[in-house]
Amino acid sequence: MVIHTAVRTGASLPDRPYGQLECEHVDVYYGSFRAVTDVSLPFGIHEVTALIGPSGCGKSTLLRSLNRMNDLIDGARVDGRVTFMGEDIYGKRVDAIEVRRRIGMVFQKPNPFPKSIYDNIAYGPRVNGMRVDDMGDLVEEALTKAALWDEVKDKLKQSALGLSGGQQQRLCIARTIAVKPDVILMDEPCSALDPIATAKIEDLMHELRDEYTIVIVTHNMQQAARVADRTAFFTAQVDETSGDRTGVLVEFGKTAQIFENPQDQRTEDYISGRFG
């Protein structure tokens, strides 16, 4: 299988990422079940990092621990450190709400609020008490960055639920951009979309990379190859004595290296389609 890798490779990409967001020996538990074990991973500033791997390898779980979305799930617990600009986001005095304002998230299924398109965008700045001179300008800016402005500029007062799936997902991206985060986490953002809508979102990620650090979970290896600067491959490891499954990081590197010259046999098996 031939996979074309991202445009931005080689010289412009440093060998080691400068980790704006970083995992250090992270374990994620749901009750007594350890879903992710000992992940250490830097997410380079203004880079796109893809998390790939088979179902149940813990990549979405890890993603949700990066902005404390796991806090909303009963029994979820994180061991180890997740740092943002050097600060432990699970630190005692850290407020999860402040973390999430700086580290936004786009979900698998588009989840616009049952409000107007305009109010969907304005919601984040309003609840955060951001000082905004002209909300109309901010809404336009966010929708423009999300490549949605031309399609919706004449119907800002209409319900967001009337948009197509792809438009709804770009609206959710615009909504995230509107609170001016530093990092955007994307949990399989295209899995509910058709190929044309998917292509639009992938183009968008290339644009957004200049301003934001992006982490994307995807099932689609071609997508990872197309959009990501670096790729982390996860797999589910089964303990031979207890039979417990847990997600582990197998290999992390520049996307070109992961797809063209994988160092681990498991990575090679997965990307060449022999597994998963």
Binding site: I97, F107, N111, Y123, V127, A160
Partner: protein
């Protein structure tokens, strides 16, 4: 291939069970319609006799209700004011407390707490209203309002009746609006949280508006129960039909009058007997109007986004 051998193979076979079940459902649907029409007719026909003798304007706008006196007067306003007072007072307590309880259960409480609290709340709905009525007269009116708060009030008041009626409908409002709030997809809560909203902002600005039709339905049901409630008001609001001007006054509600008049000392077919149905019809129309208005409000609110 011979076509004659196949002929008829696609024809339908009789399915007796299917037909029987369909008939059963038809009967069930028809029964509700027939019963409803029957109730309306039972109210309307005696009322026609009533309005033949009492002008409808005098009935609706008269301020003296004395159907049993020698100089009988049929102005229904005193009954209506008592019903309005008790209903408004009940809603004043029940809506904030009921919605508060619903939000707590749906958005804040741990699932273990919810598992205990919700059934407890629903037990409140199972207490017979006559118990509530005595609680209103003996404790709220006599002890709380008169002894403790030293308020200027008699043996009965629309405040005591309304308050206890409010307590009675809290579980209705709480339980139905909790269902409506819980039915809002978690994806919206997560989406809101991911934008840096706290739980209160998420609840008030996203979840509440998304659940508004269910919440309005809960309040409507509360209103209907308050307007139609009889035992509490008959016991605690008093049996004197007079215009009610303040919460500490006593007054007879429409339902309390019907209960009193239906006790059996009026002759069937007499004008006094027919008043019962006229008041009942008015009560029915008020409840219906509340429903229609609320439904149209919900439609407008939902169109807004």
């Amino acid at each position: 291939m011979t076509t004659t051998a196949f002929r008829g193979q696609l024809e339908g076979r009789p399915r007796p069970a299917e037909a029987a079940v369909r008939l059963l459902f038809r009967v069930a649907a028809a029964a509700t319609v027939v019963i409803t029409i029957g109730i309306v007719l039972a109210l309307v026909i005696p009322s026609i006799g009533f309005f033949a003798e009492v002008p409808i304007v005098e009935f609706l706008f008269g301020t003296r209700w004395a159907p049993r006196f020698a100089d009988a007067s049929f102005g229904v306003l005193p009954l209506v004011t008592a019903t309005l007072w008790t209903t408004l007072i009940a809603l004043l307590f029940a809506v904030p407390l009921g919605l508060g309880a619903a939000v707590l259960l749906s958005e804040y409480a741990h699932w273990r707490v919810r598992k205990v609290l919700k059934p407890v709340l629903e037990v409140l709905a199972g207490i017979p209203t006559v118990v509530y009525g005595y609680f209103a007269v003996q404790f709220i009116q006599a002890t709380v309002l008169k002894d403790w708060l030293q308020l200027q009030t008699g043996s009965f008041s629309v405040l005591a009746a309304g308050f206890v009626m409010g307590v009675m409908i809290i579980p209705t409002i709480a339980s139905i609006s909790e269902d409506a709030l819980s039915a809002v997809p978690n994806a919206l809560r997560q989406g809101s949280a991911a934008l840096g909203a706290n739980r209160m902002q998420t609840t008030l600005r996203v979840i509440f508006p998304a659940a508004i039709s269910g919440i309005v339905a809960a309040v409507i049901l509360g209103v209907s129960r308050a307007v139609g409630e009889t035992m509490i008001v008959a016991l605690a609001a008093g049996q004197q039909a007079r215009l009610v001007a303040g919460p500490l006054e006593a007054g007879q509600t429409m339902t309390a009058f019907i209960a009193q008049a239906a006790l059996g000392d009026s002759v069937v077919g007499s004008l006094e007997y027919d008043t019962l149905f006229a008041v009942g019809l008015l009560l029915f129309i008020i409840t219906l109007a509340v429903n229609f208005v609320s439904i149209s409000i919900v439609r407008r609110v939902r169109k807004a986004y």
